[in-house]
Amino acid sequence: MNEIKFQERIDAEKKIEPKDWMPDAYRKHLIRQISQHAHSEIIGMQPEGNWITRAPSLRAKMILLAKVQDEAGHGLYLYSACETLGISREELVQQLHDGKAKYSSIFNYPTLSWADMGAVGWLVDGAAIVNQVSLQRTSYGPYSRGMVKICKEESFHQRQGYEIMAEMAKGTLEQKAMAQDALNRFWWPSIMMFGPQDSDSPRTGNAMKWKIKRQTNDDLRQDFINKTVGQAELIGLTIPDPDLKWNAERGHYDFGEMDWDEFWSVVNGNGPCNKQRLAHHKKAHDEGQWVRDAAKAYAKKQELVAN
């Protein structure tokens, strides 16, 4: 009975709120998806944080730091949205450390030059926006509202990245080479951010029925590619896919086969920086333990004084 009413609500495009009844599987799906999203924001601070101290101008430094700070803020909203489903931030972080919760594989690739700050903003945030714009209409209220707020900031991030790429692409020969190299390294991992092809995506069915997801992985990926090809051409960079060409009949770009062995290998923990990213997060968390303990002990003392 509950389940039927729940589905009617969803079908009528009404949001599900934290106190509403929801199927256990819906709750679980959301916790998995939102926490994965939150962890991605947090782990995603590392590859860009890698360049903050080396940013080449005062302006570049401030913009990059502000951007990474936004990501920490997004992580906060998303952890909070996830907590409305009855799980604590501590538990979520523990799941991340235990390897039970995942984060976007894109952050397991290293950022090797300043142009990578361009590529990450332009492509990685660009891909994230396509996904997040769609998620603004997701059926769970707190997630949907979080996405609206996040999307506003992400479009600034994408422009910031594109600006770095554009600037380097018209710069010295060395800068242009760095820009092309960054595009070469980040292109395929970026389009793999949309996840496996629909035919290999076991959870898509329920997620679509519950309107958690509004578009499939393949549709979102196609959207992103359609948008990005022209942007690359405009600044004179070449997308590293010989099969990429406009298909007038489909009204979409055709593109080459993704390396799914690499995709699954990185998802399963065997990418260039998987161990490093998780170790960094654990180390910061462990080193902060005494600080969190001190803050708790102090707050407790203050409570005693107040009573």
Binding site: K61, A72, T172, A284, E287
Partner: protein, 249 residues
């Protein structure tokens, strides 16, 4: 020949930049997510302040841009306080370093806001708003850490003992300071000491920390003499500008 006002402005900018750089090293390493955000925020404020003072210095100089001042000078040409170049260490080291410096900055900008130089006065007003928040942040944490657990008290006391030697030079007055002070432009740093002492003593008492004795006290920042840390900070920060001198970013 560099003008006195140019050098004076550069000194302020350098301390802001180097502390901003240190604070930005915390990004993704904070003890909590909220604190990570707060430290990035402080870093951003420091870079903003540095940028303001460098822009003014560039305008006075007429030869170098703000970025050239930040990214193309060597260790011996940097005039920041040695205190701000000290390593982040653990969170307690950072809080103590910032607390000692924020207290100074609060008093310094309060006075500089009265400068007869309109630009310095305006920059001081703007910085003061931010520094008040920085001081509240570092003071609150100092009390939490000092009066938290035994471990946090011990760690924070060690940090205080180690950093104390860098608290003397911030009050120094050289001939350039005196010259500009006499013109109503600069702050009399030495006159800030008694207020600084009172504020420090007050917060240390709340934090149950013991004020260290003055023993060896470092000096030299104003003359471009630094600890060994500054060279590494600059080589990291200036890497791209130095490696690709003809590139625009």
């Amino acid at each position: 020949m560099m003008s006195s006002l140019f050098t004076y402005t550069l000194r302020i900018a350098d301390s802001s930049l180097i502390l901003g750089q240190r604070m930005s090293e915390w990004c993704s390493k904070g003890p909590t997510l909220e604190e990570d955000i707060a430290m990035s925020n402080i870093s951003l404020d420091m870079f903003g302040q540095a940028n303001g003072f460098y822009q003014y210095a560039a305008q006075l100089d007429g030869l170098k841009s703000a970025d050239e001042l930040a990214f193309r000078r060597n260790e011996r040409e940097f005039f920041n306080h040695q205190l701000v170049e000290q390593e982040n260490g653990n969170f307690g080291n950072t809080i103590v370093r910032n607390f000692l410096h924020d207290t100074f900055n609060f008093l310094f900008y309060t006075q500089l806001a009265n400068s007869k130089d309109e630009t310095l006065s305006a920059l001081a007003h703007k910085s003061l708003k931010e520094v008040k928040y920085h001081l509240r942040h570092s003071s609150n944490w100092l009390v939490r850490l000092g009066d938290g657990t035994k471990e946090s008290n011990a760690k924070t006391q060690v940090a205080l003992n180690e950093l104390w030697m860098y608290t003397d030079e911030i009050f120094e007055m050289d001939t350039l300071d005196t010259e500009l002070f006499n013109k109503g432009i600069a702050v009399d740093n030495s006159a800030l000491k008694s207020d600084w002492d009172a504020m420090i003593n007050n917060t240390l008492a709340k934090a149950k920390l013991i004020r260290p004795e003055d023993e060896y006290m470092a000096t030299g920042g104003k003359k471009g003499l630094h600890t060994e840390y500054l060279g590494f900070i600059l080589s990291e920060m200036q890497y791209l500008q130095r490696a690709y001198p003809n590139a625009k970013w």
